[in-house]
Amino acid sequence: MNVPQPYQVVGRDRETADTVTLTLEPVGDPLPAFRPGQFAMVYAFPRGEVPLSLSGTTPSGTGLTHTVRAVGPVTSALAGLRPGHHVGVRGPFGTPWDLAAARGGDLLLVAGGVGLAPLRPLLLRALDEPRDHRGVALVVGARTPADLLYRDQCDTWAQRAPVAVTVDRPEPGWTGNVGVVTTLLDRVPYQPRNTTAYLCGPEVMMRATARDLVHRGVPASRVFLSLERTMRCGTGHCGQCQLGPLLLCRDGPVVAWDRAEALLAVREL
């Protein structure tokens, strides 16, 4: 059965002026477990569905968190929900972040804007399993300091792993970095040849970051990107999310750079 399952909003955290994080718990049976990088089709009654990557799980093990930016009618409806409200959820869909690829090596997470959301559960898992790899580092780019997601959590993470943050436009009082996210690739520790990188953000930012990382010696097969195209079904049937040979709902959203580079280089593919 592939219809939305009712979930209840049990938590709502405002992240920025246009972005909130919703915590959902199933009303009935939970959906199968989501893995970091996978996405759900979240249904805002009665407006419609949007694909939203998992941005975290809950201690209960059955809950889901999704960070949603209000950019259209459905996302605005979702961002306006309050605890107690119901949504419908389908999933899990798509490829997860390949954490096994990083075993024994360094993990480098590079986020741009709301792209930090899909990386958050990966970061949390990596921090929880420190023996599986040498090190974890997080690099974050945002538009302004006020647009940073999970600001309080970033401070906590920074106590456990190198975290570097930069903004495009500082505000008075900002004492941190100013510049594009790629300028931070020399600010955190990792051994390029033994690094697995996980990128999420606007496609332009991911392309630039992937190229810089490969130039530094990170293998292209271990640079993972989370790609975006329209998705209507999530199940590989609607054809909307095609990127050349890939159906991004099935073969993505997480795709390695050695596969994605040539596809993203073709205009309007």
């Binding site: 246009d18 419609g48 949007v50 950019v71 259209g72 009618p73 459905v74 996302t75 360094d106 741009g112 804007g113 709301v114 090190g135 780019g141 945002a142 538009r143 647009d147 930069t166 495009d168 436009r169 500082p170 008075p172 900002w174 004492t175 941190g176 970095n177 100013v178 510049g179 594009v180 790629t182 300028t183 690739l185 020399d186 600010r187 955190v188 520790p189 990792y190 051994q191 390029p192 953000g201 606007p202 332009v204 930012m205 630039a208 530094r216």
Partner: protein
């Protein structure tokens, strides 16, 4: 395990040695102005520790920060190109340790040793290129709300 070698990675090992031979280590306290827009660019720096902000003088405002630089980064490139005047200002955001170079001495070395001069010019050019790409990317406002909206 840091990858940071920054600006100097553009030079060969001997060239790096030749350049660093011209350097002296300096320290700036937090909040110090290193140079200001319009001044003659007589020195430049490679940051080793701490953070440097490039800023612009705007009347009636505290100077807006255009970009921040950190360990390994070249601080200043106007010294290499006429008219050898700073286009921006620089101030420290924290205590900063840096290698300081006398611009005239380095330019003189470039003139006497074209191979060295070419390598150094390429290394500075690559820094300028990176900063230009960064500035252009930020002009795009990639993280802003999607133009044309979404679902």
């Amino acid at each position: 395990m840091t990858t940071s070698a920054g600006f100097l990675t553009g030079l060969t090992e001997p060239q790096r040695g030749q350049l660093l031979a011209l350097a002296e280590t300096v320290r700036f306290p937090s909040g110090a102005r290193i140079f200001d827009e319009g001044e003659l660019a007589e020195r430049f720096w490679i940051a080793e520790e701490g953070s440097v902000a490039l800023d612009v003088h705007v009347p009636g405002q505290s100077p807006p920060i255009v970009e921040t630089l950190g360990p390994g980064d070249l601080v200043g490139w106007s010294w290499l190109f006429p008219p050898y005047r700073w286009h921006l200002g620089a101030r420290t955001l924290s205590p900063v340790t840096a290698r300081q170079f006398d611009a005239a001495a380095v330019r003189d070395r470039c003139a006497r040793d074209p191979d060295f001069g070419h390598a150094l010019t390429c290394a500075v050019g690559s820094v300028i290129g990176r900063r230009l790409r960064g500035a252009r990317a930020r002009l795009l406002d990639l993280y802003g709300p999607p133009r044309g909206g979404g679902r």
